[in-house]
Point group: C2
Chain length 449, copies 2
Amino acid sequence: MNPTDVDNILEQVREALDREDWTLAVALVEALRPPDQADVFGELPASEQDVLLPRLDLEDSADILEELEEEEAAEIAARLEPEELANILDEMEPDEAADLLGDIAPEHAAEVLAAMEEPDEVRPLLIHADESAGGLMTSAKVTLHGRMTVEQALTYLRASQLELGTVYYLLVVDEDVRLAGVVPLRRLIVSAPTTRIQDIMDTDVISVRAGADQEEAARLMARYDLLALPVVDGDDHLLGLITHDDLVEVLEEEATEDIYRLGGVPGEQPHDAPISSALRLRLPWLLLNMITALVSGIVLNFFKSTIAKVAALTVFFPFVAGVCGSAGTQTLTVTVRGLAMGELTPRDGLGMLAREMFIGLVNGLAVGVLVTLVALALGELPALGLIVGAAIVMNMVGAGIAGALVPIAMQAVQVDPALASPILVTTITDTLGYLLYLGLATLILIPLI
Amino acid sequence: MNPTDVDNILEQVREALDREDWTLAVALVEALRPPDQADVFGELPASEQDVLLPRLDLEDSADILEELEEEEAAEIAARLEPEELANILDEMEPDEAADLLGDIAPEHAAEVLAAMEEPDEVRPLLIHADESAGGLMTSAKVTLHGRMTVEQALTYLRASQLELGTVYYLLVVDEDVRLAGVVPLRRLIVSAPTTRIQDIMDTDVISVRAGADQEEAARLMARYDLLALPVVDGDDHLLGLITHDDLVEVLEEEATEDIYRLGGVPGEQPHDAPISSALRLRLPWLLLNMITALVSGIVLNFFKSTIAKVAALTVFFPFVAGVCGSAGTQTLTVTVRGLAMGELTPRDGLGMLAREMFIGLVNGLAVGVLVTLVALALGELPALGLIVGAAIVMNMVGAGIAGALVPIAMQAVQVDPALASPILVTTITDTLGYLLYLGLATLILIPLI
């Protein structure tokens, strides 16, 4: 469904609500798929949401709260009576229910939990940090034992009335609820009914500790192409499992985080976050940028008398600082992404450095010669043309070094390269550019005039 | 398995190969999971790869070629005899086999296809463009008919000896091989044996046309949480399906593409691409940057005499141009990502513009006042301090406007905002900054001295 279709349905829902035709409004929303339901529902004003929600199926309500942005879902949940919300949460995946409970006031959450039918599926999930593997996992509703036969397992599955949700792998545990193996659902189907589970299970199971970072869990699932990843405690006891829908969410979150950090927005927030929180996030970064500007400013201040003598020098600032800065950004982009994808490790540092220095040299020669020609064509002093060309070549090599070394060094000291590199690399290319260019000009050009 | 473990195994494999102990080398590699096998194998020199590959199980060879980087796999495949390669491809997923065949010389590929056991699974996949939905899909090996019973379907599944690969949903087709519905494998298990497939299938199936962009397919799978997405032609005939492993790959590819484009690397290539191809990608971008530097340079040239009179003006260039450029980058980052994730559409343009202008104003006031204070503290002319502050406030508002409007306008004319925005926004903030700052200085400061 494309945005236009969502808009059309939204229009119809609004009209129905205006006429107080609840039946039509409910029917329109319930005919949609969950993400589309949430899109339509999210666009309604709070008052209409509050009128519509209690009239929807509990399952649809649960789907909508699962699919809405966290903050929006929390706001709606906060306005519901504990019993109402408990009924909806009973229909949600345990991990989604736990996330939502974590986002509302603790006293309200406690009342809701008390009113839930199966709070024990949700309660153990509440203790894990949001961005940890434990925070992502949901409870494993169906586990098998090794000595069951395939037929017993299938009967058990049919009898367990399992929600047709997140079951692709069946986890096998031993007597102490330690993770013993895994059986893909499809293998259960193609195996003879009398086979024992322990004879068809894979014992070499990839799992993750509850305390691990969510990115580690996502990397494991992506690398080994897993639809579900069991989560265990330090003694290998099965705590739950992470499902593939979380994988996609984490991957997109991590990509957004990297893009934001590289763009000088050191924290993830939607494009329409409250202005106050946007300012809190962005202003400190700009102030940090001011420090780096101060460093360049000090260099420029040092060369004031040179600039006063040959004001034409400033014409080429955008080449010496700006274009070289772009080259540094290119190198750091490739390096940061390589590090994030695990394709590049600090061990590869020296090779990367040599490579980027060489690329900087070649790009520097190309750009430097062109800028020299432009300077000469504009009728500037020949010496100025040569000086700006030389400064560009050297600063381009410097940009290659900084663009490769800074992120690798950051990674080595366990600071996210995406966060710290852009500002550092730009400070280096700006400062080095002014130093080289104005230094050469002071040494060579000034004595000539 | 972490990189250190891969290194350890690699070391042992190398030692085994040095001693010509093929059995040990093979055993070491075969004990690994496919992505780890590919990591180890990929680190070996070509000569050792050629010795090792024919000694591995065909299935392991297939896994390794599937998991290696495309270029690496193509190089290895090109060195194999047609029969050897055909045997390996027979073990690969049809979509992976088709991708590999597309990467080697057409005559070689034709010979290999002729030598394959089931070339008809692969041949139809070869005609689709690499980055289209058709290019991602694999052949649907098992399809059901609506009038089958659950029991017949299960018997058929057991008899079909299906590879335990990519079967989670079972597609149901009609007599003309048109897509009629879908049955989740798990529903088959929990349904009564005599039920007809058509009574338990979902008829409202999300599918994608073969010609659609791979990103559209990935967005559908991510949004609707699909493990597999059927691909159809214009008449709804089932052509194949896209599986979740492709989803993760496409999402990571698209994120890399956006990160690269935002960083001025307008094309995806690994951090260790050949230097010549890195230069071909990056140099044109730097040359384009030179044009934008030229625009700023022209402005600076215009104000040469002002600068000659008050060289101290240059000290604040990094604030007026650089820090405001960072603010513009922040805005464009949030806007570009919002557009890419479909959370922001050109319709939201006006709201985004107002919001970012306001943020620019507040940030501008904060940074502007600080820089004014710094200037005054450094003992510069009071007028200079006020002028730089005023220029910063105005340029910050301009940065907000440019950072929001440029990407939205790009999206509206269907140019990727990630590709075009950074360079345009920086050009605007640089040029506007110099114009405002030096313009004010010429009008106000020069008459004072």
